[in-house]
């Protein structure tokens, strides 16, 4: 479904990604793990069109999409749920969700989609009229995820949903991720919380200093010497 081949990217003179390749098949739950500054967010930004990659190719559902504007990528059915939630704080919860349904094809069915999102996140329905700024961190993350689903995506890229949240809330978030995947949405999850990520994903890639270092099924990676030492503290 998503195929990234030999991707390099830089911010000004600082190169962040070096020849990174990654593949996500339809229906898969793939994780991208690595330390802070490994280039995970940059990779997502390059895919969603927020930044232009230097070289390499990105294909989504068989179409070359590098150089596309973000709105074109969303229109194709690839939703990017950004790092640190980025909800629209001065808009209500309901308006945030409506913004998620901005592409015309999603706008028409926004009421039905919102009902589904409310089933997934009942807390959002309770707070539908409140300004997003009044939500707790966990609720804002749920709002960001619900908003990302409003565009009726075929695939979601989710950037560090557990960041800065209490362990109990993190457990909820991972449960929701699992049920999203069970509903048939292809997931690419970026996380620093390696232990819980390897427990829910099918396959994972490990990114270090902008380079691919490891990839494979999660159960194999969880056993690998390198991952256990560097990420699981064993």
């Amino acid at each position: 479904m998503l195929e990234i081949d030999g991707l390099s990217a830089s911010y000004g003179k600082v190169q962040v990604l070096w020849d990174v390749s990654l593949r996500v098949d339809e229906g898969e739950f793939v994780a991208l793990v690595g330390a802070n500054g490994a280039g995970k967010t940059t990779l997502l930004n390059a895919v969603s069109g927020v930044m232009r990659p230097g070289s390499g190719s990105i294909a989504f559902m068989g179409n070359k999409v590098d150089g596309f504007a973000p709105n074109q990528i969303v229109d194709l059915g690839l939703s990017h749920i950004p790092e640190s939630r980025q909800v629209f704080t001065d808009m209500s919860v309901r308006e945030n969700l409506e913004m998620g349904a901005y592409p015309i094809r999603a706008w028409k069915s926004r009421r039905n989609t919102m009902k589904r999102v409310f089933e997934l996140f009942p807390r959002l329905e309770e707070r539908a009229g409140q300004l997003a700024r009044s939500l707790s961190g966990g609720e804002q993350q749920m709002l960001a995820m619900g908003r990302g689903l409003m565009s009726l995506p075929k695939m979601c890229m989710i950037d560090e949903p557990s960041n800065g949240l209490a362990p109990l809330v993190v457990r909820d978030i991972f449960r929701v991720l699992k049920s999203l995947h069970e509903e048939g949405i292809t997931v690419l999850l970026v996380e620093q919380n390696v232990r819980q990520t390897l427990a829910v994903a099918d396959r994972a890639y490990v990114l270090e200093n902008g380079h691919n270092v490891l990839e494979g099924p999660c159960c194999d990676l969880a056993q690998s010497e390198h991952v256990r030492k560097a990420y699981l503290g064993q």
Binding site: S48, G49, V50, A69, P70, N71, V74, D75, S79, H80, P82, Q86, F88, T89, D90, M91, E95, E98, M99, G100, Y102, P103, A106, W107, R147, S151
Partner: protein
């Protein structure tokens, strides 16, 4: 008692017009990030198009609103697509773009003003429109009509921002352009529309002003200054703040003008400086 009522009504009317002009500037600066020093010139353009159509085809000034608004809106779209979008694409950061956009709009100010001077000259112009008074209250009819228009426009614009898909996209883009893009918003179109809407509001305000006061091709800059004071008063980038700030400044203006007209401009600057020192983020600022 009558004097008080006049000050209040005139203040409300001026305030409403200031609010239109300032919401326009706020859209351009708060969303499109163009600090448009030439904003007031498009008030002048709106006023003169109205004046000119009244003279040439005897078009009712209130009808010409329907023409000046969209005409100036389209000018804004074209300006954004040809000038400001290019500056944005070639700027390494938004801060650099803000600086460049201000310089470019300075140039625009002179171009528009001098073109207008070639077309319409530099004399004071004006016309009489509905200046009979409403008998019981002794208030000129044109003021009441203009006040009615401003209120309707204000409410309509508020509903546009609050209720429509595009209005929501504009508010989202004001808060975070990158996140709005991730929602599927074509950010360059929204920025161009914001710039155009801002100018369109100035054009409409110009049409209304021409029904009330004498006009001249040099009136623009004064209104730009007022709009900047209002935008700082209301809080940079806040549309609601610009509306509230506009009304406050209108009331200040009519009060000061009643007692000592020559102090009005000074009052604006005093408010501006006191605000910058005491509450630089404005009424609705964060």
């Amino acid at each position: 008692m009558n004097a008080f009522r006049d000050i209040f009504l005139t203040g409300l009317l001026l305030g409403g017009i200031f609010a239109l002009v300032s919401v326009g500037l706020s859209l351009q600066y708060g969303v499109a990030r163009v600090l448009n020093v030439a904003h007031g010139e498009f008030i002048m353009v709106g006023a003169f198009i109205t004046f000119w159509m009244l003279g040439s085809i005897n078009l009712n000034p209130l009808v010409s609103l329907v023409i000046t608004g969209p005409a100036v809106f389209i000018m804004g779209l074209i300006l954004h697509k040809t000038l400001f979008r290019r500056l944005m694409d070639t700027s390494p950061s938004l801060d650099v773009f803000e600086g460049k956009s201000m310089l470019a709009s300075f140039g625009l100010l002179y171009v528009v003003q001098n073109l207008a001077r070639i077309i319409w000259g530099s004399d004071v112009e004006g016309y009489n429109f509905l200046n009979s008074t409403v008998t019981a209250a002794q208030i000129p009819l044109n003021r009441l009509v203009a006040l009615g228009f401003v209120i309707v426009l204000g409410v309509a614009f508020y509903l546009f921002l609050a209720r429509t898909r595009l209005g929501k996209a504009i508010r989202a883009s004001a808060q975070s352009p990158t996140t709005a893009e991730l929602m599927g918003v074509n950010i360059h179109n929204v920025l161009a529309i914001c710039f155009g809407l801002g100018l369109g509001l100035a054009g409409i305000a110009g049409s209304l002003l021409s029904t009330l006061f004498a006009i001249q091709t040099s009136i623009g800059l004064g209104y730009t200054v007022i709009a900047m004071v209002v935008v700082v008063l209301g809080g940079l980038g806040s549309i609601t703040g610009a509306m509230i700030g506009g009304v406050i400044l209108g009331l200040v203006s009519s009060t000061v003008t009643f007692f000592q007209p020559s102090l009005t401009m000074i009052a604006y600057y005093v408010i501006f400086i006191v605000l910058l020192l005491s509450r630089p983020k404005g009424i609705m600022g964060k």
